[in-house]
C-alpha cells in the first residue's frame, strides 16, 4: 500500500509538472520578427471583395487587392493605384482609365483592361457566366454603370447612365477591388477562399476559425512590404482580445473597447487613434409628434450633453459631432459649423415656446451593431438629459437586426426618435440616402424621420451631378449649415477608430477610411 501510494503521488506530480511545463513552453515562445499577428474582431465571411460588406473583412482585403484608385495616405481623397490616369467627359458620364503596365496578379496572370471589365461585369451583369459566384450585396455602389468597355489592352472606359460624383471614391472602396479573372474561373464560388489580387501581400492559407495568413508580394508595384508574413486572427470576444494583446499573443489589436484602453498605458504599447467617416446620431420623427416642430428638435440638440457622452460613456474614443458630415471628409466639411452647445435652459425655453412640456417620447435603442459604439449606455444618458428638460422618454431596446427592421421602414406610428450610425466612403452617400425628400422609406431610402427641405434636396442633387470637387465641396458645406439649423437629427458623435500595437511594431498608422494598410509596417 505504502509503495503504491508513493508511486501514485509521484505520478500525479509528474503529470502536473508536465502539463504546466508544456503550457509554459508553448506560451512563452516569442513571435518571430517580421511576422505580424493582427487580432481581428471576427472570422471573415469571404475574401472575395465583391461579396463582402464588413470592415472586418476589408482589413484583410485591402492588403491583398488593389483597386483602380485608392485613398491618399491619411485622407479620403482619391489618388491613382492600378489606374495611372483618367479622364472624365464634360457631361460627367464617361470615365476613361489608363492602366498600370506590367502588373501581375498573384496567380501569375496579367492585369489588363479585360480583367477590369471581367470584374465589373461579374458583379453587374446577371447574364455573366460568373455572376453566380455572388451574391454581391454592395453591387449597387456601381448601379450607375451602364457598360464597361475595353478601349485597348491598357485602357478601359466606364459609361454611366447619369453623372454620379461618388463614382471615383466608390472605386476606391473594397467593392471596387480587382480580382484575378483566372482565379474566379479556376475556383468558381470558392474564390472567396482562394483569393488572388495584385496587392502588397499574397494569400497563403485560411485556417477556419483560426487564422488567415498572407505573405509579402516581393514584386509589388508600389514597393515590396517590410513584413514577411501577416496573420489575421479572429478573436470575437473583446476581453479575450485584450488579454491576448497583454499576453503578447497578438502584435496589433483593432477596436479596443474604451474601458480597456487604460490597460495599454505605458511603454510596452502604443495606442493609435484616427477619426473616421462615421457619424452617430438620433433620427427624430419630423412627421408627427413633438419633433414635428423644429424648435423641439433644436431643443433636443441643446439638451443632450454630448461632451459628457464622448468623454464619460465613450472614454474619449469619439468626438462631438457638429453636423451630418463627419470632419474626416476634410475637403467637404464645413469648418465654420459649431456643435450645438449643451444648454438645458435654452432647451427648456424652446420646449415651452413650442408648448411641448412633458411630452412623452418613444426612443428606439439598439443593443449593439456596426458602428453603434455603446448604444445602451448612450441611450440611457440621452434619456436622462431629455428628462432633465422636461421630456418623458421611454426606451425600447432591440437586437441589431430587429432594430434595423423597425427603424429602416420609417418611425411613423412607432417612435419619436431612434439611434443610428453610418460609416461611408463619400460625403454624398449618407445625406443622399437619409436626408432627401426622395429618400423617405416608402421610396426606398433611409430617411426614417421624414425630414424634407427642398433646398437641401436641390443642393444634394447638384453635388451628385458635379464632377468638380471644389464645386461639390461648396454645395456640401451649404447643405450642412441648413441641416444643422433644421435639426432633423441630434448630431452626437464621430467615432475615432483605435488600435493598439506592441513596442515591436513600427511605422503603423490608422487611416481615416478605417481600412488597415500594412505594406509599410515593420516588426523587429
Amino acid at each position: 500500500m505504502k509503495h503504491s501510494e508513493i508511486t501514485r503521488r509521484v505520478l500525479l506530480a509528474a503529470t502536473t509538472a508536465t502539463v504546466v511545463g508544456l503550457g509554459a513552453v508553448a506560451a512563452s515562445a516569442q513571435s518571430p520578427a517580421n511576422v505580424l499577428i493582427v487580432g481581428q474582431i471576427a472570422e471573415p465571411k469571404s475574401l472575395d471583395p465583391a461579396a463582402v460588406t464588413a470592415v472586418n473583412d476589408f482589413r484583410i482585403l485591402m492588403n491583398v487587392f488593389d483597386g483602380l484608385v485608392r485613398y491618399r495616405d491619411g485622407t479620403l481623397e482619391v489618388e491613382e493605384a492600378l489606374a495611372t490616369d483618367w479622364t472624365i467627359s464634360d457631361d460627367g458620364t464617361v470615365y476613361t482609365f489608363s492602366l498600370r503596365d506590367g502588373v501581375k496578379f498573384h496567380d501569375g496572370s496579367d492585369f489588363n483592361a479585360e480583367a477590369v471589365k471581367f470584374n465589373f461585369d461579374r458583379m453587374l451583369d446577371e447574364g455573366h457566366p460568373y455572376h453566380d459566384t455572388g451574391p454581391f450585396p454592395l453591387s449597387f455602389f456601381f448601379s450607375a454603370v451602364n457598360s464597361v468597355d475595353v478601349v485597348d489592352s491598357m485602357s478601359v472606359q466606364f459609361t454611366l447612365n447619369a453623372p454620379y460624383a461618388p463614382f471615383l471614391s466608390n472605386l476606391a472602396y473594397p467593392t471596387g477591388l480587382i480580382v484575378s479573372p483566372a482565379s474566379v474561373e479556376a475556383h468558381g464560388s470558392e474564390v472567396g477562399r482562394n483569393p488572388s489580387g495584385t496587392g502588397a501581400f499574397k494569400f497563403v492559407e485560411w485556417r477556419s476559425n483560426e487564422a488567415v495568413v498572407v505573405e509579402a508580394n516581393p514584386g509589388y508595384w508600389d514597393g515590396a512590404p517590410a513584413l514577411e508574413t501577416v496573420v489575421f486572427r479572429p478573436i470575437t470576444d473583446a476581453n479575450t482580445r485584450t488579454a491576448e494583446m497583454l499576453a503578447g499573443g497578438i502584435d496589433l489589436m483593432v477596436e479596443v473597447p474604451p474601458v480597456s484602453l487604460s490597460e495599454f498605458q505605458g511603454d510596452a504599447f502604443t495606442i493609435h487613434e484616427q477619426a473616421g467617416p462615421h457619424v452617430w446620431f438620433l433620427i427624430l420623427n419630423a412627421k408627427e409628434g413633438p419633433f414635428a416642430d423644429v424648435r423641439v428638435r433644436q431643443a433636443a440638440n441643446y439638451a443632450i450633453n454630448k461632451e459628457a457622452i464622448v468623454n464619460d460613456v465613450l472614454e474619449g474614443t469619439a468626438a462631438v459631432a457638429a453636423g451630418p458630415t463627419p470632419p474626416a471628409f476634410a475637403w467637404a466639411y464645413n469648418e465654420n459649423l459649431q456643435p450645438y452647445p449643451y444648454d438645458p435652459d435654452k432647451a427648456r425655453a424652446l420646449i415651452a415656446e413650442a408648448g411641448a412640456e412633458g411630452a412623452e417620447l418613444t426612443f428606439f435603442v439598439t443593443e449593439g451593431g456596426s458602428g453603434m459604439l455603446d448604444p445602451v449606455a448612450m441611450g440611457t444618458a440621452i434619456q436622462a438629459d431629455l428628462e432633465a428638460v422636461g421630456l418623458e422618454v421611454s426606451i425600447e431596446t432591440y437586437e441589431w437586426n430587429t432594430f434595423l427592421g423597425e427603424v429602416n421602414p420609417g418611425l411613423e406610428g412607432k417612435a419619436d426618435m431612434a439611434e443610428m450610425a453610418w460609416m461611408t466612403n463619400d460625403p454624398d452617400t449618407l445625406p443622399f440616402l437619409a436626408l432627401r425628400t426622395a429618400a423617405w422609406p416608402d421610396q426606398g431610402g433611409f430617411n426614417s424621420g421624414y425630414y424634407s427641405n427642398p433646398e437641401v434636396d436641390k443642393l444634394l442633387e447638384a453635388a451628385r451631378a458635379s464632377t468638380d470637387q471644389d464645386e461639390r465641396a461648396m454645395l456640401y458645406k451649404e447643405m450642412q449649415t441648413i441641416v444643422q439649423e433644421d435639426a432633423p437629427w441630434v448630431f452626437v458623435a464621430n467615432w475615432k477608430q483605435n488600435a493598439v500595437t506592441s513596442d515591436r511594431v513600427g511605422n503603423f498608422s490608422l487611416q481615416p477610411s478605417f481600412f488597415l494598410l500594412l505594406d509599410e509596417v515593420t516588426k523587429n
Binding site: A24, V25, T53, A211, T236, T240, L404, F446
Partner: protein, 315 residues
C-alpha cells in the same frame, strides 16, 4: 438488447422531426432577415428583396421547409452564406473540437466529481467532507465566463503559463503538447460546475449505499476500508451515479458555449451564437439538428450503459 436499441432509435425519428420543425419556424419568425444582417445600414427594401431572391429566401415557408428537409435527409445541409462554405463541413469540424473540449472536461469532472463525492461520503462530517462540500458549493456558484476571464488573467496574462485563447499556436508545430497547453484552461473551467454537481450527487448516493447490509458484511469479513469504499460501495452507487453523469455530459456540451466564447475555442457553440447573430439560417438549422441528433444518441448510450448495469431497466 438489439431490439431495445432498435426501438429507441425508431422513437428518435419523431423527436428529430419535431426539432427540425421548431428550429425552422424559429429562424423563419425571428425579426431581421439574413439580407438585413448582410446589408446592415444599406438594407433598403429594394436591396433586401434582391438579396433574398439571390439567397433563395423568397419562396413560401412550407416549400422552403420541404426543400431543406429533403436535402437534409440526403445528407445535404446546404451552404452557409456567412461563412461561404458547406454547412456540414463547418458543423463537423466545429463539433469535433467541441467534443474534444467537452470530452476532456467530462473525463475531468467524472473522475474528480465521483472521487470527491466518495471521499466526502466515506469521511462524513469530518474535515475532508466539510472542505469538499464547501469547495463544491463554490464551484457550482461561479459563472464559468467569469471564472474563465479570471483564469486567463492569472495563468495567461500574469504567469504566462498557458496561451490565452484558441486551439493551436499560430506559429510553431501542431503537436500534442501544443494542444494540451491550449486545452487545459478551458477544459478545467468547463469542468468546474459539473464536478460540483457530480460530487454532491455521488456523495448522497454513496451515503445511501454505505448504510446497507452488504457493506456491513464486507467490513465484518475483514475487507480493508479502502476496498469497501472503492470496490463494493462505489460499484453499487454507480447505478444511480451514471444517469447523473449522462445528464452532466449534456450539461458540459451546452455549457461549452460560454467557455468557447471566452477562450475563443473554435467549437460548435460559438458557431451557433455567431450564426444566430448573422441570421445564417441554414447554419443555425443544420447545427441545431446535428447537435440534437447527437444528444439523442448520447441519451441512448447512457440508457444502454445503465441497462447493462441494471437489467431491470431493459423492458
Amino acid at each position: 438488447m438489439a431490439g431495445y436499441i432498435l426501438k429507441r432509435l425508431v422513437s428518435a425519428i419523431p423527436v428529430l422531426l419535431g426539432i427540425s420543425i421548431i428550429v425552422f419556424l424559429i429562424m423563419a419568425m425571428i425579426p431581421g432577415d439574413p439580407a438585413m444582417a448582410i446589408l446592415g445600414s444599406y438594407a433598403t427594401p429594394e436591396n433586401v428583396e434582391k438579396l433574398n431572391r439571390d439567397l433563395g429566401l423568397d419562396k413560401p415557408l412550407v416549400q422552403r421547409y420541404l426543400i431543406w428537409l429533403g436535402n437534409l435527409v440526403q445528407g445535404d445541409f446546404g451552404r452557409s452564406f456567412s461563412l461561404n462554405r458547406a454547412v456540414l463541413d463547418e458543423v463537423l469540424e466545429r463539433f469535433n473540437t467541441t467534443l474534444l473540449l467537452a470530452g476532456t472536461s467530462f473525463v475531468i469532472c467524472s473522475i474528480l466529481g465521483v472521487s470527491a463525492g466518495a471521499i466526502a461520503a466515506a469521511r462524513q462530517f469530518a474535515l475532508a467532507d466539510k472542505a469538499i462540500t464547501f469547495v463544491v458549493l463554490l464551484g457550482i456558484s461561479i459563472p464559468s465566463f467569469f471564472l474563465g476571464m479570471m483564469m486567463i488573467l492569472l495563468f495567461s496574462v500574469n504567469l504566462r503559463w498557458f496561451p490565452v485563447s484558441g486551439m493551436w499556436p499560430i506559429y510553431g508545430t501542431r503537436d500534442l503538447s501544443a494542444l494540451v497547453s491550449h486545452l487545459t484552461l478551458p477544459a478545467l473551467v468547463l469542468a468546474v460546475v459539473a464536478t460540483g454537481v457530480i460530487a454532491r450527487l455521488s456523495r448522497s448516493a454513496m451515503l445511501e449505499v454505505l448504510r446497507q447490509d452488504f457493506i456491513r458484511t464486507a467490513r465484518a469479513k475483514g475487507v480493508h476500508e479502502r476496498g469497501v469504499i472503492w470496490r463494493h460501495a462505489l460499484r453499487a452507487a454507480m447505478v444511480s451515479i451514471i444517469p447523473v453523469l449522462g445528464v452532466q455530459a449534456g450539461f458540459v456540451l451546452s455549457g461549452a458555449v460560454y467557455v468557447e466564447i471566452v477562450f475563443q475555442w473554435p467549437g460548435v457553440g460559438r458557431m451557433l451564437v455567431d450564426a444566430i447573430l448573422k441570421r445564417d439560417i441554414l447554419l443555425v438549422q443544420g447545427g441545431v439538428v446535428f447537435v440534437a441528433a447527437c444528444y439523442v444518441m448520447f441519451n441512448l448510450a447512457v440508457d444502454v450503459a445503465q441497462s447493462l448495469l441494471d437489467p431491470r431497466i431493459r423492458t
